[in-house]
């Protein structure tokens, strides 16, 4: 920390690190073909200095004061950012005004779109916000293109910058979406629990009515004798589930069918409940693959909403779809190949039959019921 002796002699002191955060704006831009989506966070304090937001001069900037000036804020900001793609300007249009809290205060958040003539490879950004008022101001850019993110800093010396939008290789893109698919099935507990509910009984078979259980084991079920039938059962279930969700995932992703998320998410929760209940109070014993197929159709819509959130590249729609789907299958296969040998090895134990099979199914039932209530009534019960 440095301060001048100055105070000894003069009113002027040299300053030092006794500082707030300096003035920065946060600009993020995502390039999607011939369209750019952006968000620009600009400190209210800076806007106030530039165009005066505190209309009543009481030292407080209220939402009302900001809201009444949105058109002006948008015009001021828009005039200070130019976007060109391959040399052709892409006009900016503000789409939404919000606010957000950063570490040093509240920022006006302007979301915008820029429409270019056609997709291109050379993006040029000209940033001139506040440089006339505060040459120390900096614009912090986050640029997203085809799954890659890069950052840059605009200052008066680097007000114009050019970015090469290198097309990522098809293969990389394919792997990116596959990875997302794997990740999604692992993180999407509802899909895992549904699958597990169907798989848990695969190493057991239903016994004829009246037959006595072995001591310590459960009534109505016995362990399979050989691996082959268990494997065959699992194979059928997984294949049916896969085919079904691939169909609806593709239809939804291509925009052929759209269903409200709340409906599909609730139906997914219901499917988990039914699959788990079926283990406790058997309804469908044979042909569990048909259950897997029917409900798999619903789960496909769930996958599609994730894919929509990720954003589909317009130029590689099919590639992304196949990649994501394949990722889901790989993720599924990993779970199954971990589950099946373990379950087979444990199938005769009371631990498996009572704790895992019955206890697990009951637990899944409870959790999924919670999900159903949450999703159907828009509540928040769980943290996951």
């Amino acid at each position: 920390m440095i301060r001048a002796v100055c105070c000894l002699a003069l009113a002027l002191c040299a300053g030092g690190a006794l500082a707030h955060k300096p003035s920065d704006s946060y600009l993020s831009i995502a390039v999607d073909g011939d369209k750019l989506h952006g968000q620009w966070d600009i400190a209210l304090r800076d806007l106030d200095f530039a165009i005066g937001l505190d209309s009543n001069g009481d030292g407080d900037i209220t939402w009302g004061e900001v809201r009444s000036r949105h058109a002006e804020i948008a015009a001021y900001a828009r005039a200070r950012l130019t976007v060109t793609l391959d040399g052709t300007p892409c006009p900016l249009r503000a789409t939404e005004h919000l606010v957000d809290l950063h570490s040093d205060g509240t920022y006006a958040v302007m979301r915008f779109e820029a429409q270019c003539a056609k997709p291109g490879a050379a993006l040029e950004l000209g940033y001139n916000l506040f440089f006339d008022l505060d040459p120390q101001h900096k614009g912090l850019l986050r640029l997203e293109y085809a799954g890659a993110t890069r950052t840059a800093i605009f200052s008066p010396e680097t007000a114009r910058q050019r970015f090469e939008l290198a097309r990522p290789s098809r293969l990389m893109q394919f792997f990116d979406y596959s990875r997302e698919g794997v990740w999604h099935i692992w993180m999407g507990f509802d899909h895992i629990l549904f699958l597990l509910s169907l798989l848990l009984p695969a190493v057991l078979i239903r016994r004829a009515r009246g037959a006595m259980a072995q001591p310590g084991l459960i009534r109505g079920w016995r362990a399979v004798d050989r691996f082959k039938p268990a494997f065959w059962e699992v194979f059928q279930i997984v294949t049916a589930f896969t085919i079904a969700h691939s169909i609806t995932l593709s239809l939804a992703a291509l925009g052929v069918i759209t269903l409200p998320t709340r409906l599909t998410e609730s139906a997914i929760a219901l499917s988990v409940i039914l699959a788990a209940l079926n283990n406790l109070y058997p309804l469908f014993q044979r042909r569990r693959w048909m259950v897997a197929f029917a409900f798999g159709l619903i789960h496909g819509f769930g996958f599609a909403s994730v894919l929509a959130d990720l954003g589909l590249p317009r130029d590689a729609l099919l590639l992304a779809l196949v990649g994501f789907n394949l990722g889901v299958e790989v993720g599924q296969l990993v779970i199954v190949s971990a589950f099946l040998p373990t379950a087979y090895a444990l199938r005769r134990t009371a631990f498996y039959q009572r704790m895992i099979f019955l206890g697990g199914s009951a637990l899944i039932c409870v959790v999924a019921t919670g999900w159903l209530i949450e999703r159907a009534f828009n509540l928040k019960l769980f943290v996951f």
């Binding site: 920390m1 440095i2 301060r3 001048a4 002796v5 100055c6 105070c7 000894l8 002699a9 009113a11 002027l12 002191c13 040299a14 300053g15 030092g16 690190a17 006794l18 500082a19 707030h20 955060k21 300096p22 003035s23 920065d24 966070d41 209210l44 304090r45 106030d48 200095f49 505190d54 001069g57 030292g59 407080d60 900037i61 209220t62 939402w63 009302g64 809201r67 005004h97 919000l98 606010v99 957000d100 950063h102 570490s103 040093d104 205060g105 509240t106 958040v109 008022l133 505060d134 040459p135 120390q136 101001h137 900096k138 800093i153 999604h184 993180m187 999407g188 509802d190 769930g302 996951f384």
Partner: protein, 383 residues
Amino acid sequence: MYALVTVAAPRVPTADTEVLERLPVRPNDPSMREIRELRDSLAREPQNLDLAIRLARRYFEQALAQGDPRYVGYAQAALKPWWDVRDPPTSVLVMRATLVQYRHDFPAALADLDRALDREPDNARAWSLRMVIHLVQADYEAARRDCAAFAPLVDELSATGCVAFIDGLTGGARKSLAALDRALARARDASAEQRVWLLERLAEMAWRLNDTKLAEQYFKRALALGITDGFLLAAYADFLLDYGRAPEVITLLKDWTLADPLLLRLALAEQAVNAPTARAHQATLADRYAAARLRGDTTHEQEESRFTLQMLNQPAEALRLALSNWRIQKEPRDARVLLEASLAARRPDAAQPVLDWMRETRIEDWYLQRLADQLANPRKGAP
């Protein structure tokens, strides 16, 4: 699918009356009114040098009072017609030096000051700023020459203070403390700002000599003058933290969360007493340091080192920051940060530049000495 993380998202407030931001200075505050008038006049005549310098100076005062670097940028903008020219007027050179040293560009500041003093050898403002920069760079010989040139141009208190300040760092602590104390008592017409500054220097001198009682007296006298001074608050907070008086730091600084250095001291105090707000303040600091890094700003390294060591417990990174800071600034506080980091990181070799500096200056600072002893004999335990 369930989102596993919830991120703070932009929102649309519901009520028009919701206050989103409190401006640090009300627009009708006299200081702001003067600035506004100057700004309007300058807008009409942007080439008026006198107006530009006056406005830049007002902005810079705001930067110091509020600790807000925005005003440094505003000051620079006021000087725009002269900022990049090859041979600006002397007043612009001195002002430009003042603004660039704020962001620790000391070589550029010194170059401007040298040119200003070539033209106007009796520019006291330029000499005083030059002396301070030399002090921060630990170039005590150059600082002494600045003081000598500066003495005939200013009052006795300033001249004495200049020399005493250097002596206080280079082996003459007790003598210079006494001299400065006498000079202050004699100077009846010293302004309150001058007194605050001198009392703070005296407090730090006494503290370095481990005279806790005397240091406390000086701090209390400075605070009693009722002048808002972030540097004084930071120094007093450090003093209190050293003596385990964290609750007093919290009372002192709870309304100072906007200025990073004061927020750091507040967070350290809160951590010491396990206050519930400690975590939130730690997160805010981490955000601000990250933002500064993003914009390529290194002026906060000394404090970030302290933060990284004491709040994040990452000695290696703290040492990296402290070393980088020591290349630019060499004051006792910078020395302390480097010694503490090398001690925690078990890298006594990294502390060598500070140990050399201590030997050369013969600085009397019981705390630095203790840290140096521990580095030499690591088994003696932590302070």
